[in-house]
Assembly symmetry: D3
Homo-oligomer: 254 residues x 6
């Protein structure tokens, strides 16, 4: 089978020159190496970021020109830094890496970079990169499961552990079951509803300060079907936004 | 087949806790996204870094406890930054990423990190990281094809393009033919002996200033056998040094 | 009337030495100079931060030893930077300022600093400062209207302009009407429900990209009573958390 | 009474737009939170900076368009950092804050910013900001009691403690007695003539290394009349320079 | 003739080990490459710094152990940066250079470093270095013509151009005539009394903004005798302070 | 005898203005203060850098306009930092110093700066400066004994201590014997062939980790004749490259 012609890792110089001539949108998957308990591996967020980018390419199906970089596998994992599987870098390093890659791409005529992010901890760094790159006239879009919210509400069976954070839970595990089932060991899935400290939103807590497991919620309720249902919407949203971002390039907007 | 138990991306928390208890040596593959002409893909250095680390794990065969991180795929590609497939970051970002990952690992008891580097452009950043980490009592070892030199002299059939630099040439292409043959398209292999400027060692040149192709040398002479011959020695050297580095940890040296 | 004995601006050296002996919690109000339309002044967030800190002192009523610094009046105002009244600084400067003040305080024995924040744009900088100071064993707490959410839902009459952002609206104007009525000119209050771009959560937008006014929502519905109702809960929550933070200092936690 | 129309904290967007159309000179008061003994409060320099800016506005009396920012209350207090009331930041933070505010103002068409400084410790940071902003074509003027010298010589009754430094002394206390008499407690005024180390100008001394009190000189000799006499000249000088700075903007100078 | 045994440039390892055993005070001359008009060369400040250090060593005459580094020849020359002979670096670079050299020396047991400075423009950077090094327990002393003031008043025949600045004038030229007469071409000495802008102390001026020559004052009045008279006092002061600084090392002070 | 008219330290403003009109190439000698054993002094690299620049000027003999700055005497000496005579700075400081001097020169119309480097440890910093300055359109050339290699092979009598490093050895000592014979004490010359650790190229070693002397090789075999033979070729190469660099300035290349 022919390899994916949007996968930069597999392109040669002639391929790339042809691709660049179409002013493609550049996808940069980004995840983290981080503890996800015993039912999901340390590479979960990287697996999800790569698989989402692959599925996105299939969803777009050549209608908009895109290129896909390899995953940036080291993210900011402050909250779980002390958990066994977490190997992370600072916000500043994540932000600088993204900015430098985007500037590197801009030298080749690329004007739009999309971060396909599967790790919430990277959000601050991405936001910082977005604002810095805007000064250079480069659009950095951040895709973090766009449009997932309402579908999650719909499919969720078990209560969430926290209004703002979910991790290795019913939902995220469902994503992996759908996109990379071999990576999940459902026999080891647990529920974990740690008691968040009263001042959790006020003081800087690592999750290891109050929870024995990085699982936040009930992973046992995860199913591939739930994952598919949510991600189908997410991917459709992503594909639609890619088309908008691509068109923007020719409208004098950045 | 069971997955590789040294691959952190596949480990869960219990696996990792058990692994950490043995004070493993941590492997960090590092490559680059960089033009390699038309017979090798942009991801060549990342493919090589990952495959070398995998082969190293097989060579070690459990005799020394090691763990393997995902490849850091973005390197410093200044010399070829203007070639179509190059998407790079600064020396400072490479160095900071390595330092922060190693410090993150040190918090878990890891004292020795080995960079399995397949891209010469990362050398300055790695050296900088080595010296900074030494201040923290962390040993950072740099594996860049250790011991390859004499074997290369032995197997080489075509002259080298430059005494200090080789790229996408007889030798590197042979590595890929041996480790990842699917990534090579030998039909597109060329020879390219650019005329280096007289003051090449004096002034900062990008290779694109004087060469139409990123190939430096004669890629047509590459064979899997040459690659195997060199890398067999390289891997044996790596394995031997891993054992030394592991033992050093218990000798009060860093 | 005697001045407020918790107001550092008014303390002399003997006062301060006595105060420090009680290991007080240090309050740092922080706001911004930012456009708030025509019914609220540029200093709105500073006025709110100062008044909240004053009211908090009254609510605590001497039960926990606290000290109050002058307001840090320059915040991060990226989203409204191009509006006429916005004079801001970078996230890095906000973060460094807070960190340095807290370190300065720690040299005098203070272990707990509470940011009384009235400007959402400062959240990222405060989070960064919290994590950096934790490394130094200093607790930085962030008070951004704690517990306001449910009461807001209760008192709100007009719909919100955006799920995550509110500004110069029914709610914020109500705060000012309660805490500093002279600062409001209700005759100029407007409603403004800008159409947020479809990709608002994906791309870095300044609010001035899509809205003619910095008002987000309907300011005309603001009343002092609504403000009082919400802030009464907020202040009670703050006072309670101050007590907890004070006690924590003697528990070996930071 | 109507509020001061030059006080940005009280302006709304329409006010500001009208004000900006006149290319106003922007005043930024800056002080410090710093020990001043027992007769003056920690906020002395901030009180002075704000009051000077207010009086300056009155002195200008609308002849030159000016706007006034809130006081930047945290200055560099290295020399007295270990005294009880000192809460300070680094030179770099003071300098960055000023530069960023001025750049923020320049985006709105303001070309001239005047720091009304009441704390000598900020001088180095202001100088640095002046030079950086000059590269951007922005004029940053530094008002630190311009023209006070000869009048001080005239009114002074007690000897000075040091040729270069005065603090909380006959002169500074006189300023506060004139501008903010409620902030002074003359009953606690003292004289303090510490013995400066022989190598004071050669080695980095904190004042707390050799002096028990932050008072340098004889505060008991302070009077509101002395303060008024000096500051009348100072304010006239300031007003005159404001007019010159305003005019410069239209001469192609920066 | 035997070379100077305090000149590190001429020491070998055995010499140095012996010297270090005596806990010497380390002298670091620092000057600048800067325009001085036509009667003095660009290297004037470096010549003065080196010659002062040499004379200081003779004055000390072995009574206190000292070592002398080569001159740091690049200083901060902002005010004259646009004059033809000025080649300078930033305050930050001067400061970092001094700090790193002093830290390097501290690793060898040296606790006291004396900057023999002949260029006023370096003052801010030196002050910054002093404060940073104090945190490390290293004393950095700054010798900028200590005690020259009263003697200058005594010998000066021509009026000074400015109360705070003198440059390439009667006084500085006299220093060079005394210490390095071959470097002076008195035939080209001029007087230059530029009109300083009214707002010179308020706004950041380069001297080239208002003066055609870098000479500030009347260089024609310079004589070797004047130079000798001033520098005799300066050197005696320096020698005395060196003795004090040396003794301090054994008193637990830094 | 008239002084060297290319030595900036001796130029006055009129000289310099005339010199700048010819668009000269600027020479910046750079060395280090570093242990060289007992037969060579700490200033060896600085002596060599200055003497090479002087000889280069003679070799050029006015055919190409050049100017010569004073030597930057503090280099990066990490490998020998713990040896007694080493007083060094960081790579970053070396790099920043060079960049700032070159930018300072560029403001005067100089487009080409040549580092005459006599200390290998500066190579990384110079490379970094080259790349940064290229962005500014400034050519920074690095002269580190160009063309010495083959002649060294020819004259060498004793084996080298390491393939990549030589220090205070037969070759370097020969350089000093030729250029500054007074600085050498051949009676103290030794041979030293330390055993390099097996993993020397893999791990960050300081030379003091494994060698008692900084001499790498056999200094006893040094002669002035060997030095002359090598440096004659080196200087001819340098002069030739200067001519090329000078000409490049007028070809639109940088």
């Amino acid at each position: 089978m022919a390899y994916d012609k949007t996968d930069i890792s597999r392109l040669n110089d002639s391929d790339m020159e042809a691709a660049l001539a179409r002013t493609p949108v550049l996808l940069l998957p980004i995840g983290a190496v981080e503890s996800h308990g015993d039912h999901l591996p340390a590479g979960t967020d990287n697996i999800l970021a790569v698989r989402l980018a692959e599925e996105l390419v299939k969803t777009i199906d050549g209608e908009t020109p895109v290129l896909r970089l390899p995953v940036l596998p080291f993210g900011q994992v402050w909250s779980l830094a002390e958990a066994p599987c977490s190997f992370g870098v600072s916000n500043e390093t994540v932000s600088n890496t993204i900015v430098e890659i985007a500037q590197s791409a801009a030298q080749k005529g690329i004007r739009t970079v999309v971060v396909v992010n599967a790790h919430l901890g990277n959000a601050v760094a991405i936001r910082d990169a977005q604002r810095r790159l805007r000064e250079d006239g480069i659009t950095l879009a951040n895709f973090f499961y766009p449009g997932a919210g309402p579908v999650i509400e719909d499919v969720r069976e078990k209560k969430e552990a926290h209004a703002s954070y979910m991790h290795a839970c019913e939902i995220e595990t469902s994503y992996v079951l759908h996109l990379a089932p071999d990576a999940v060991d459902m026999d080891k899935a647990i529920e974990n509803y740690p008691e968040f400290p009263e001042d959790f939103s006020t003081v800087a807590y690592r999750w290891t300060d109050f929870s024995k497991s990085p699982v936040l919620g009930d992973a046992r309720a995860a199913t591939a079907e739930k994952g598919e249902k949510i991600l189908k919407v997410v991917l459709a949203n992503m594909a639609k936004q890619i088309a908008v971002l691509y068109a923007r390039q020719f409208n004098g907007n950045s």
